[in-house]
């Protein structure tokens, strides 16, 4: 007998065990005896670990006071961080001039917000401000000039120095990395060889040795009496180092694109730079967002290595503080605080990249 369906089967809700809190818990936490035991043991361990940390950091911690003697409770002595907060934030930047750094932060935050968020439709002017005007303002604001007292870079430090190192390296590394990646795929042998040589050379040595070379060897190549600022040398080293990494990340994105995209662009009469700028790079960079942000996060944390060439970034300022005779034995508080600051910045970058990926998604979502 032939089968002919004449009426459509009614739509039914999925079974209860598949949805809702109970369904989720049953599927993920208590799906078998073994998993049930695992869940209970993990919950017990997690509870103790979290409680111990909260007890140390908040419940039994000391927040008030001005000296070590005020830390009477068992927990953390946050007074240490409070007393040294200025130095942790600005290093040895003169107290009277610290407002300049704050102004720089505010101007930068405005620029970053305008470029990264959805608020303004055209990104052209915010980008010009952030990438061209703002760095110039910062140079005079932070270093001095136009009636502002000169603050030598040797006095820069703390979180301020960390942010300067990270943002300059990021702003230089991305464009330079893109150029190196395009160069590596170029059909011109000389361009390709130069780019491959640079990438392979820099990537094959540790960042520490690049920093050492930048601080020790660079002066040897310069004419007598010429001397680069120590901070500039660190910036050059870090930027070149991360550009090499960035180049490989971007190349991965370029290779993931189907060949047809470039062919379609060519067949419409677009030239090389137009095809790259309008068709290939927007897509390649979009695919590479997770790896690009990964590199940024790595770079941000690698800034702590400048301590070995005698710059006082966030970590080294705190480390120096823990060796102060008045605050001996408070290393834990210092490092927990540093870790928390790094976590806030890196987690922020990570969340932003997720938001950006969703925003740029143009696949099958309607």
């Amino acid at each position: 007998m032939a089968i002919v369906r004449t009426e459509r089967h009614p739509e039914l809700p999925p079974p209860v065990t598949q949805t809702g809190v109970i369904g989720w818990m049953r599927q993920n936490l208590f799906s078998s005896w073994f998993n049930t035991i695992l869940t209970i043991v993990s919950a017990y361990v997690a509870y103790h670990a979290i409680y111990a940390f909260l007890d140390f950091a908040i419940i039994n911690a000391n927040f008030a006071g001005t000296s070590r003697d005020d830390c009477t409770l068992d927990g953390a002595c946050w007074v240490f961080i409070k007393q040294r907060f200025g130095q942790i934030m600005y290093g040895f930047y003169p107290e009277a001039e610290r407002w300049r750094v704050d102004v720089g932060y505010v101007l930068g935050a405005i620029g970053i917000f305008l470029v990264l968020s959805n608020v303004v439709k055209s990104k052209k002017w915010p980008a010009v401000y952030l990438f061209i005007v703002y760095p110039v303002i910062c140079y005079f604001l932070f270093y001095g000039g136009f009636g502002l007292e000169v603050v030598e870079t040797s006095q820069w430090g703390g979180l301020f120095l960390t942010l300067v190192l990270a943002s300059v390296s990021i702003f230089v590394a991305l464009p330079l990395g893109i150029i190196l990646a395009l160069g590596r795929r170029s059909e011109m042998p000389v361009v390709r060889m130069v780019c491959v040589g640079f990438i392979e050379l820099i990537r094959a040595v540790p960042l520490i040795s690049v920093l050492f070379m930048a601080s020790v060897m660079l002066p040897l190549f310069l004419p007598e009496g010429q001397n680069f600022d120590k901070l500039v040398r660190a910036l050059v080293g870090m930027s070149l180092f991360s550009a090499a990494y960035m180049a490989e990340v971007v190349r991965g994105g370029l290779q993931a694109l189907p060949k047809g995209q470039m062919e379609a662009a060519k067949s419409l009469g677009l030239g090389y730079w137009q095809s790259m700028g309008l068709i290939i790079l927007p897509q390649a960079l979009k695919i590479s967002i997770p790896s690009i942000v990964n590199t940024f996060i790595g770079l941000f944390k690698d800034t702590t290595l400048v301590l070995i060439i005698g710059l006082f970034d966030l970590l080294s300022v705190v480390k120096a503080g823990t060796q102060d005779k008045d605050w001996l034995g408070l290393a834990t508080e210092g490092y927990v605080f540093v870790a928390a600051v790094f976590w806030v910045f890196c987690f922020g970058m990570s969340r932003y990249s997720i938001w950006l990926e969703n925003k740029l998604h143009t696949g099958h979502k309607r």
Partner: protein, 255 residues
């Protein structure tokens, strides 16, 4: 003579003389000679690997030829990038896998080249794009992204995108091969109406029905050579070469 042949005239649009191409040691195209008149519609068919796609990709230099001569619209293809770009502006191409730009909307796909290559003002480019999207019958999809369209719709957008550059010649590289069966006819209809307007067309395709209706000449290629070249009636009813007969028996048997 087909209906479309009345648009033909003596002006030569594409002239290929003694063209050879190698991939490394492999001799893919051997002594290709072909001239296409303005308004003429050529269908190129042949078994896979016969070099038909490679040949039409040489016409807008997505592939380089190593020997012989290709003259498109009176301009000879050489290493001169300017001349290559000049030819690409006048030659539209439709690909098997559409190759739409997924990060741009349908409308932006269509206006990109006119704005950046022809320097057309944005409003004008958009008006032209809408005109062609209406011609391929999907103006309502203009603000969607290619990923939201069906294969047939994407291919029609790809045709509209090429037409927005006002090309004098259109190349089709197996435009229906990647489509689901029920979507093939919508793309072929678009191509037929384009042919009726007198566009010069070179199509690599296995759609023999299309070849019978539209083509002025059918070219059969095998192993890098043009084996047979004839008007469709002769080609299908009275093929001369054994290889053509074999090929036709294979595809018509399944069709």
């Amino acid at each position: 003579m087909s209906e479309a042949a009345k648009h033909m005239n003596d002006e030569v649009a594409i002239q290929i003389n003694g063209m050879h191409k190698w991939y490394g040691e492999f001799h893919v195209l051997r002594d290709i000679n072909l001239s296409v008149h303005r308004g003429e519609k050529i269908v190129v068919c042949g078994p896979s690997g016969s070099g038909k796609s490679t040949m039409i990709r040489c016409i807008n230099r997505l592939e380089e030829h190593q020997q012989g001569q290709i003259i498109v619209d009176g301009i000879e293809l050489t290493n001169d990038v300017k001349k290559v770009d000049e030819i690409r502006r006048e030659v539209g191409m439709v690909f098997q896998h559409f190759n739409l730009f997924p990060h741009l909307t349908v409308l932006e796909n269509c206006t990109l080249a006119p704005i950046w290559v022809r320097k057309t003002p944005k409003e004008e480019a958009e008006a032209t794009a809408m005109k062609f999207l209406e011609r391929v019958k999907i103006p309502e999809q203009a603000l969607k992204y290619p990923g939201q369209l069906s294969g047939g719709q994407q291919q029609r957008v790809a045709i509209a995108r090429s037409l927005c550059m006002n090309p004098r010649i259109m190349l089709f590289d197996e435009p229906t091969s990647a489509l689901d069966p029920e979507m093939i006819s919508e793309v072929l209809d678009t191509m037929i109406s384009l042919a009726e307007e007198g566009m010069t067309m070179v199509c690599v395709t296995h759609e023999m029905g299309f070849a019978k209706t539209v083509a002025d000449r059918v070219i059969f290629m095998d192993q890098g050579e043009i084996i047979e070249e004839a008007p469709p009636e002769e080609f299908f009813d009275n093929p001369q070469s054994e290889r053509t007969k074999l090929f036709l028996s294979q595809i018509l048997h399944n069709g």
